[in-house]
C-alpha cells in the first residue's frame, strides 16, 4: 500500500523540481499582489503541459492515467510551497466526477479540455457557512437550478460548474457552464489569496451527471486530495520551523537546544508521520477501488486538519516576532491552513462522520 512505483517517484521528483523553482512562496506573494484570479494562467498552462491536469484522465481523452497516488504526490508538492492553481478543483475533483459519472458524450466534451488545461472546473456543494452535504436544498426540478452555493473553491475562475442539487429525492450532481444564463458568480477575496465564489442560480439549465452515489464518491476524492495538499503544507511548515530551530540563537545557544521546543518539534514529527500514513492509505484505497474509501477519506481529512492546525500555529510561535510579520512565511501557511481545514468538512465534521461510518 505504501510502496511507490518508479513512475510515481519520477512524477514526484519532477513535481518537486518544478514547484520549488517556479512556484516558491514568493510566487504566492506575487499572485496575491497582482493576480485577482488567485493563480497564474501561464504557469497553469505549463503544469498542464507537464501532464498534471490529466493525471487521472484516461489516455483516450488526452490524459496520463497515473491514478490517485500520482495525483496525491503532485498535490503534496504543490502544498509544500502553497503553489496556487486549479489542480485540485479541476484535475482531481472535476476530472473524477466526469470519469466516474459522465456519459460518453460528457467525457468526450470535457475531459480533453481539462487535460489540456483549457477548462477550469469547480464543485459547488456548501450552501451555508459549514460543510453539510446531507442538507443540500438547491432545487433542480425540471433540470433548472435555483438556489445558492457558498464559498465555491475556484468558482470565481471556473468554466464548468458541477453542482450538487435535489430533484425531488436524493442529492445528485449537475453540470452547468459557468457563463450560462441564470448563473450569478460573486467572487470572494479570501484569506489564502486564492479566491472563491458565492454563486446564485436562478433557473439555470443543467445536465444531470451520474447518480446519487456519485456525490459521496466525488466528495471523498476532494477530501483525500486536499488532505494530500495539506500534508505537503504541514511537512514544509515543519521543516522550515525545524530549520529555524537550528539557526536562531538566544542565550548563547541555538533555540533548538531548549527541551521545551525539542519535545514539541518531536511531537509534531510524530503527528506528521501518522498523518502521512493516513493520506497514503486513502490515496491507495482510491486506486485499488476499495469499499472503505469513505472511512479513509474522513480519517485523512480529519488527521490532516488537526496536524496542519498544530504545525501552522507552532510555526508562528517558534519563529517569535518574525513569525508575526507578513514578510515571513509562517503567516502564509497559517492562512492557507485555515481555509483547507474548513473545506469539504472540518476535523470536527469528519470525526462525527467517522463515528457514524463505524456505527457509534
Amino acid at each position: 500500500m505504501f510502496t511507490l512505483t518508479e513512475e510515481h517517484d519520477m512524477l514526484r521528483d519532477a513535481a518537486r523540481a518544478f514547484v520549488q523553482e517556479k512556484m516558491p512562496t514568493a510566487h504566492l506573494r506575487a499572485v496575491r499582489e497582482s493576480k485577482p484570479d488567485g493563480f497564474d494562467r501561464a504557469l497553469w498552462k505549463e503544469m498542464s503541459d507537464l501532464g498534471w491536469a490529466g493525471i487521472l484522465i484516461p489516455e483516450e481523452h488526452g490524459g496520463a492515467a497515473l491514478g490517485y497516488v500520482g495525483m496525491g504526490l503532485v498535490l503534496e508538492e504543490c502544498g509544500r510551497t502553497l503553489a496556487p492553481s486549479p489542480l485540485h478543483s479541476t484535475a482531481l475533483v472535476g476530472a473524477s466526477a466526469l470519469i466516474l459519472g459522465g456519459t460518453a458524450a460528457q467525457k468526450a466534451e470535457w475531459l480533453p479540455k481539462i487535460a489540456a488545461g483549457e477548462a477550469v472546473v469547480a464543485l459547488a456543494i456548501d450552501e451555508s457557512a459549514h460543510h453539510a452535504p446531507e442538507k443540500i436544498k438547491l432545487d433542480a426540478k425540471g433540470r433548472a437550478l435555483t438556489g445558492e452555493k457558498k464559498y465555491v473553491a475556484d468558482g470565481h475562475v471556473a468554466d464548468l460548474l458541477i453542482v450538487a442539487a435535489r430533484d425531488g429525492g436524493a442529492v445528485t450532481l449537475f453540470l452547468v457552464p459557468a457563463r450560462a444564463d441564470g448563473v450569478t458568480i460573486t467572487p470572494l477575496k479570501t484569506l489564502d489569496s486564492r479566491g472563491a465564489a458565492d454563486i446564485a442560480f436562478n433557473g439555470a439549465k443543467a445536465e444531470p451527471l451520474g447518480g446519487p452515489e456519485l456525490v459521496d464518491q466525488v466528495l471523498d476524492r476532494a477530501r483525500i486530495g486536499l488532505a494530500a495538499e495539506m500534508l505537503g503544507q504541514a511537512t514544509q511548515a515543519f521543516e522550515t520551523t525545524s530549520e529555524y530551530l537550528k539557526t536562531r540563537t538566544q542565550f548563547g545557544q541555538l533555540i533548538g537546544s531548549f527541551q521545551a521546543l525539542q519535545h514539541r518539534a518531536a511531537k509534531m514529527f510524530v503527528e506528521l508521520e501518522l498523518t502521512r500514513s493516513c493520506v497514503l492509505a486513502a490515496l491507495a484505497a482510491l486506486d485499488e477501488n476499495r469499499n472503505d474509501v469513505a472511512e479513509h477519506a474522513s480519517l485523512a481529512k480529519a488527521r490532516a486538519g488537526e496536524t496542519l492546525h498544530l504545525v501552522s500555529n507552532e510555526m508562528v510561535q517558534m519563529h517569535g516576532g518574525i513569525g508575526m510579520t507578513d514578510a515571513a512565511d509562517p503567516g502564509l501557511y497559517l492562512k492557507r491552513a485555515r481555509v483547507a481545514e474548513a473545506l469539504y468538512g472540518s476535523a470536527s465534521y469528519h470525526r462525527d462522520r467517522y463515528a457514524a461510518l463505524n456505527n457509534f
Binding site: 456548501d126 451555508s128 457557512a129 459549514h130 460543510h131 457558498k150 464559498y151 460573486t186 467572487p187 470572494l188 477575496k189 479570501t190 484569506l191 489564502d192 489569496s193 472563491a196 458565492d198 540563537t249 538566544q250 542565550f251 548563547g252 533555540i255 531548549f258 527541551q259 521545551a260 521546543l261 500555529n313 508562528v316 510561535q317 517569535g320 516576532g321 513569525g323 508575526m324 510579520t325 507578513d326 514578510a327 509562517p330 503567516g331 497559517l334 492562512k335 485555515r338 481555509v339 474548513a342 473545506l343 472540518s346 470536527s348 470525526r351 462525527d352
Partner: protein, 405 residues
C-alpha cells in the same frame, strides 16, 4: 482621599460611588458609551487627531479628575484614589459601558516604574503628560539579536561628557512611528551582561531616530524597526543608576504582563459572545448548538475564561490583603494569551467559510474582522515575553525548579 488616614468606612465609599455615578452621567458623552472598533482607540500624543470631538471631550474630562490614572498621586496628574475607590470607579465605568478614555504604554508600563525609580524632576515632567494623553510612549526593548534573551541587547550608549550618544537598532517596537518618546534599554557596559544595561528616555524626533513600519500577518502595521544613529540624549534622561537598568526593565515587564492579562488583548471580533456567533452560523437543535463537538469545546473555553476571571479576582483580594502576588504576572500572561487565541480560533471555526474572507463585499464587517483577530492573537504568546519564557519564569521563580546542570 487616599491621603486620608485609615481605611474608608462603607458610608464614605457609598458616597464616593454616588458622586462618581453622577459625575460620569454628566461627563461621559453618549458616543463614548458605544462599542468601539480597534481604530476607535484613543492613544493621545502630539499628532493625535480625534476621529470624533467626543473622544477629546471624554479624555479631557477624565484627565481633569486624574482618572486616566486613578491611583497615581494627584501631584503627578493622578486621581489619588484608594484601591477601593478605584474598584468603584472601574465598576461604574463598566456599568455605563464607557470606552477607555486613553490607552497608553505610559499608563500601563512606563508610569508605574517611573513612580518607583524616577527622580522627582522626571516624575514631575513625564507623569502629568502621560495622564493627560499629551505624550505617547513606545517601548524600545527587543533587538534583532535580543528577544527572549533580552539582556543580550547591544544598542550602544556612550557617555560623551555632557550628553549620551546612542547607536543601534530595536525591532518590533509597537507604534514607534506614532510615538513621541521612547523608554529604551541600552548597553552602557559591554564587559558584563545584565549589569551593563541602562534605562533611558528620549524624544523620537531627536536627530538620528528612524522608524520603518513592519506589516503584520493580520494586515495592520503596528510595529516597527527602529534605528538610532548618533542620537544625542541629555544626561538627565537616565532613569535610576547607570548600569542599573535591568532591575527596572524587569519591573516594567511585570507591569506589562499584568496589564496585558488584565485588559485582555485587542482584537475586533469580540463584541458578541462566541456562543451567540456559533448559534447564528452553526444552528441550534433542541436549544443546543448543532455541532456537539464544537459546543463542548466552546463550553471548555468559557469555563477556562471563568476560571481566569475568578483567579484575577482572587489575586486582587490577596494583593489588597498585602500578599505578594508578583509571580502571578507571568502566570496570568500565559493564561490570557491561551484564552484569547482559543477564543479567536473558536470564532473562526464557528463562522465556517464566512470567516475565510480577507476583504471585499462578499463578507460582513464582523466576518472580515474574525480571521484578522485570530491572526493578530497569535502574537499574544510572543509579545511581552513569549509563553515559553513566562513558563520558564514560573518554573524557576515560583516552583524553584533548576536548570539542567
Amino acid at each position: 482621599m487616599a491621603d486620608g488616614p485609615g481605611p474608608q468606612t462603607s458610608k464614605e465609599l457609598e458616597e464616593f460611588r454616588s458622586e462618581t455615578r453622577a459625575w460620569l452621567e454628566a461627563n461621559c458623552p453618549a458616543l463614548m458609551r458605544t462599542p468601539m472598533g480597534e481604530d476607535d482607540a484613543v492613544w493621545g500624543g502630539r499628532d493625535w487627531k480625534p476621529k470624533h470631538p467626543e473622544q477629546k471631550q471624554w479624555l479631557d474630562a477624565m484627565a481633569s479628575k486624574g482618572w486616566t490614572v486613578p491611583t497615581w498621586p494627584t501631584e503627578y496628574g493622578g486621581g489619588g484614589l484608594s484601591p477601593q475607590e478605584n474598584t468603584i470607579l472601574q465598576d461604574e465605568l463598566r456599568r455605563i459601558k464607557a470606552r477607555p478614555a486613553l490607552m497608553s504604554f505610559g499608563i500601563w508600563m512606563f508610569g508605574p516604574v517611573l513612580l518607583e525609580y524616577g527622580n522627582e524632576a522626571q516624575k514631575k515632567k513625564y507623569l502629568p503628560q502621560i495622564a493627560r494623553g499629551e505624550i505617547r510612549w513606545c517601548q524600545g526593548y527587543s533587538e534583532p539579536g535580543a528577544g527572549s534573551d533580552l539582556a543580550g541587547l547591544q544598542t550602544k550608549c556612550e557617555d560623551k561628557g555632557d550628553h549620551y550618544l546612542i547607536n543601534g537598532q530595536k525591532v518590533w517596537t509597537s507604534y514607534a512611528n506614532e510615538a513621541d518618546w521612547i523608554f529604551c534599554l541600552v548597553r552602557t557596559d559591554t564587559k558584563v551582561k545584565h549589569e551593563g544595561i541602562s534605562f533611558i528616555l528620549f524624544d523620537m524626533t531627536s536627530p538620528g531616530v528612524e522608524t520603518r513600519p513592519i506589516k503584520l500577518i493580520s494586515g495592520a502595521s503596528p510595529f516597527c524597526e527602529t534605528f538610532f544613529t548618533d542620537v544625542k540624549v541629555p544626561k538627565e534622561n537616565l532613569v535610576g543608576k547607570l548600569n542599573g537598568g535591568w532591575e527596572i526593565a524587569k519591573r516594567l515587564l511585570m507591569y506589562e504582563r499584568t496589564s496585558i492579562s488584565a485588559g485582555g488583548f485587542g482584537g475586533g471580533a469580540g463584541a458578541l459572545p462566541i456562543e451567540e456567533i456559533a448559534k447564528h452560523y452553526v444552528g441550534v437543535e433542541d436549544g443546543k448548538l448543532e455541532d456537539r463537538d464544537l459546543r463542548a469545546r466552546i463550553a471548555a473555553h468559557k469555563m477556562y475564561d471563568k476560571a481566569f476571571a475568578l483567579t484575577v479576582r482572587r489575586a486582587q483580594e490577596m494583593a489588597k490583603a498585602g500578599d505578594n502576588v508578583s509571580h502571578m504576572a507571568s502566570m496570568f500572561k500565559v493564561a490570557a494569551a491561551t484564552m484569547n487565541q482559543e477564543k479567536t480560533e473558536l470564532i473562526v471555526e464557528a463562522m465556517g467559510n464566512r470567516a475565510l474572507g480577507w476583504s471585499g463585499d462578499g463578507f460582513t464587517k464582523g466576518e472580515i474582522l474574525a480571521p484578522r483577530a485570530m491572526l493578530r492573537a497569535k502574537g499574544n504568546s510572543i509579545e511581552g515575553g513569549t509563553t515559553e519564557v513566562n513558563l520558564n519564569v514560573v518554573a524557576k521563580r515560583v516552583l524553584g525548579l533548576r536548570d539542567h546542570q
